[in-house]
């Protein structure tokens, strides 16, 4: 029983890791908490749904094409909404992202209606491994998330783009003086965030129904994960997501599942009071 709960929690945490990393990357580069992160999941899920249901593409292809399309959309949103506000305060940008969230959700409602939908997926029985129920979606989720996180890690650690992203996040003025074009880095950050959130939207949609509040239900959890890992720290965001996933899932043993986000919410509040730099975060030492 407990092992099953922890397993389910880890899988939930893996799904949450994708938008948590996206949130933390955007925060690192643009220094604002992107409230639209939930709506980005929703739109990503619906794009894949449209390709899956209307064009009859298998979910995997639908997800890949949908994610690529959504990456372009994310860059477009940034250029239209956030770019003109680049030098404004984090609060202004946060409010703008709330607006984006609202608009995206309503576009989805307008096109697809309010009802719940689902992907056309072949049904399969859960497998039993050492007494644990594991279904195909969970295995697929684990493989997809590990692949995505490995890719992000390699990009951040070992490519010029990754070094530039970390440099801009660390010290924008010095990065500019070194010839790093911040706007180019910003666009690539939105591409990565778009791919990650769209993929997460599909994974959530495979697990449950797709409705216009799909991403909304994850906002608190995603913020808790990123803050837990220290905003701006991608590795921290992944660990934060796994922690939040397990804790939320475990809490359902004690409280009604509908209240699981309360647990994350309390975690954020406690953390901000006790350790504002996040669990992993070192207080930034600067000369």
């Amino acid at each position: 029983m407990t092992a099953q709960v922890i397993l389910n929690g880890l899988v939930t945490g893996m799904v949450v890791a994708l938008p948590a990393v996206a949130l933390t990357l955007i925060y690192g580069i643009l220094k604002f908490p992107n409230f639209a992160i939930g709506a980005m999941l929703t739109v990503g899920a619906y794009l894949a749904l449209a390709l899956n249901v209307y064009l009859s593409l298998p979910v995997l292809y639908a997800a890949a094409i949908g994610a690529a399309a959504f990456a372009v959309v994310a860059v477009g949103i940034d250029q239209a909404v956030f770019r003109p506000l680049r030098e404004r305060s984090a609060i202004t940008l946060l409010v703008a992202s709330m607006g984006v969230s609202f608009v995206l959700e309503n576009i989805v409602r307008f096109i697809f209606g309010n009802g719940a939908r689902s992907f056309e997926l072949p049904l399969a029985r859960p497998k039993l491994v050492f007494g644990l129920r594991i279904n195909n979606e969970q295995i697929f989720t684990a493989v997809a998330v590990i692949a995505a996180m490995t890719a992000v890690y390699v990009v951040l650690r070992h490519t010029p783009l990754g070094r530039a992203m970390r440099a801009v996040s660390d010290n924008p003025a010095l990065a500019a003086a070194r010839g790093i074009d911040r706007e180019r880095i910003v666009r690539w950050t939105w591409v990565i965030a778009g791919l990650l959130t769209a993929a997460a939207g599909v994974l959530v949609g495979m697990d449950r129904a797709i409705d216009p509040l799909l991403g909304w239900n994850y906002i608190v959890t995603v913020f808790a994960a990123s803050i837990l890992g220290g905003l701006g720290n991608p590795v921290g965001a992944v660990l934060g997501a796994l922690t939040v996933g397990v804790v939320e899932e475990t809490s359902t043993l004690l409280i009604a599942p509908n209240y699981r986000q309360v647990v994350s919410f309390c975690a954020i509040a406690l953390l901000l009071l006790l350790r504002p730099q996040g669990l992993l975060g070192v207080q930034r030492i600067k000369k």
């Binding site: 660390d170 500019a176 070194r178 010839g179 930034r284 030492i285």
Partner: protein, 247 residues
């Protein structure tokens, strides 16, 4: 006393300004600064706190636009070039603070210092080796996160990063600020050895004694204006710094 022409030696001029003024908001912080820096020399800027020394060097580096006046690197006007374009043109700059990426490793700091310049300006393997040879304390810590370096080591790293661009002119803003005497001496040694390799140095210094010892020409900046432009010998024998600083 002629504060402008006579102290410029017969050396070829690599960097010069004419009537430069600059500021951040309303009023000019510095005004009418005209200097000529001879090739291979050490040109030192001293002056009281807040007199505009950093402002002047930021204008040279391209981080703050000159409101009026001209800046030349050799014969080329650079007043309208961006900071990275000036690095590419041969003018490297070490800021007074926040001069390294603390979340990148030492090796990554060296790498990104030229990685995003135009292709032909990126540091060659030979240049990297040359820089590592000058800065063994940096070479020995390539894998370490730069945030874990001590103040003196950070300054060395910032200095090494600037050298990766193989500059003809190096701009240093108080490289020894806040360092222990041992590191101050080491930094000055590095400045001398880099200069001996033919790099022209423009350096702001608060350690006036040390600075005068290695400088060829000294600019005394007070309240954003040129108070004096003279050789260290002249300053030590003919002037009183306290009186100069009072403006």
């Amino acid at each position: 006393m002629n504060i402008h022409g006579s102290v410029v030696s017969a050396r070829e001029i690599v960097l010069s300004t004419e009537g430069v003024a600059a500021g951040y908001g309303g009023d000019d912080i510095i005004s009418n600064i005209s200097v000529a820096v001879g090739k291979g020399s050490i040109f030192t800027v001293i002056g009281p706190n807040g007199s505009g020394k950093s402002t002047f060097i930021k204008v040279l580096a391209g981080l703050l636009p000159a409101r009026t006046g001209e800046i030349r690197l050799g014969a080329m006007s650079i007043a309208r070039l961006s900071a990275p374009q000036r690095v590419a043109a041969g003018l490297a700059y070490v800021p007074q603070e926040f001069n390294i990426f603390t979340n990148l490793t030492v090796g990554e700091n060296l790498r990104v210092s030229t990685e995003f310049l135009e292709r032909e300006r990126r540091a060659s393997a030979e240049q990297r080796e040359r820089v590592l040879a000058i800065f063994p304390e940096v070479a020995g810590r390539l894998g370490l996160r730069a945030g874990y370096l001590s103040g003196g080591q950070r300054q060395m790293l910032a200095f090494a990063c600037a050298m990766m661009a193989a500059p003809t002119v190096l701009l240093l803003d108080e490289p020894s600020a806040g360092l222990s005497p041992k590191f101050v001496a080491e930094i000055f040694d590095k400045v001398k050895s880099v200069n001996a390799m033919g790099v022209t140095v423009v350096m702001i210094e608060q350690n006036v004694k040390e600075a005068l010892r290695i400088a060829d020409i000294v600019l005394v900046l007070v309240n954003g204006a040129t108070r004096l432009l003279a050789t260290p010998d002249d300053i030590l024998t003919k002037h009183d710094l306290h009186k100069l600083y009072l403006g």
